[in-house]
Amino acid sequence: MSYGDPGFLYSVLACPMCKSPLTCNDEVLICSKDGRRFKILRGIPRFVESDEYVDSFSFEWNTHKTTQLDTFRNDGSSEDIFRKKTGFKPEDLKGKLVLDAGIGAGRFTDVMARWGANVIGIDLSYAVEAAQENFRHLDNVLVAQADISDLPFKPETFDAIVSIGVLHHTPDTKKYFHRLVPYLRHGGTIAIWVYPAEGDFVTRKQWIPFTSRIPDRMFYEWCRWFVPYAQRRLDSLLIQSIYRIFPFSNQGLGLENDVLDTFDGYSPRFHGIHTPEEVENWFREAGLVDIHIPGPWNSSMQGIRP
């Protein structure tokens, strides 16, 4: 089976434990070696039992299914960010098999699918429900619920791997990055962006042990009230002072985006911050070459598997 054949993306899946091929039998994927079974629920192969430590993402992406997708926004804001954070251009990904590690609602899969890439998007959270809804009509996108630490693919499967704004939400950013690299083909490119150890990201890290404990719905209600309230008063001394202690989103992409982004910034359980040197070292340790920062975002990095 080759790129473009119906069912090709399904044929790429493998048992996350032993990497043996899977056979599909009535909404269940079965490991051909040891008979392990993985359900397909609502069209989504499930390789995990729950959303574990990422329940806030399950909530936020099912609340904001389309807020950041260019296709629904009718603009190119996410494409612009994708180009700057990964360095990829349409011709780099057209016809290629790409893993979107941490698809969320599909903000960047939306860009890659439009560019003609064959994308498999995985996420540990129930954000996969939102992504599936956004892409169910596309033959070149497959969404699966899986953990980056036990990916359901054979090694050396993908032409490119992207993970933007995801790895720092795992228990160990470096370890999870290293889990991705073996799935890249020789000659393939991996591009990631993680939170930088600077500015607002440092301040937010101090809040995380406290804000991540607030029930998601309560904190979200609060963000829905606070963000528009603060944005209307940006010239006030009080709001400016609050901003320095509690930076809230004001990205110029609309109020819904800023409410989402403020919630996203404070609700996750893990919030790693990393210097460009640190990220570059992970790439070196993984044996990648042509390592470089592809755009203006310091803690984004691209490298090739030789």
């Binding site: 809040w207 309560m218 609060w222 400016q240 320095r244 202690i245």
Partner: protein, 143 residues
Amino acid sequence: MSRSIVGVAEKLISIFGVSLYLIVVGCFLVLTGRIRVSPRGFARRVLALLRPPFKGDLVELIHEKGNCYVAPLGRTLISDSNGRSRLTLFEDGQALPYPHSSHDDIREVGAGRYSHWGDAVFFSSSDNSDPSKNGKRYSVREI
């Protein structure tokens, strides 16, 4: 009816409860030095509200990159690098449309985007012409 009352009550509890919790946590983070705030910076912001608004012409215009030009202000004010700038940039008396722009957008898109950063203004002219040669006057005023 009762369901909507419950909904409003839940919303109010969320807003007040979370606000109170965040105020307590914020005080803790500041007082324990986990989040650093500068009393001098705060005092400067208060003083900025009390003194007369700054205004002046941009004279020394230096090409930075793409559509972006830099003009030193010759005065230290609260800028977007340490707060929120109150500066408005005028081109021949007409306010330019996009303050607080990212420097990348100023360089790449231009079209009147600008940013007050540190002691300088990073800006582009409205038609992306060279502001040092287009014969237009560029001035700033705190609003």
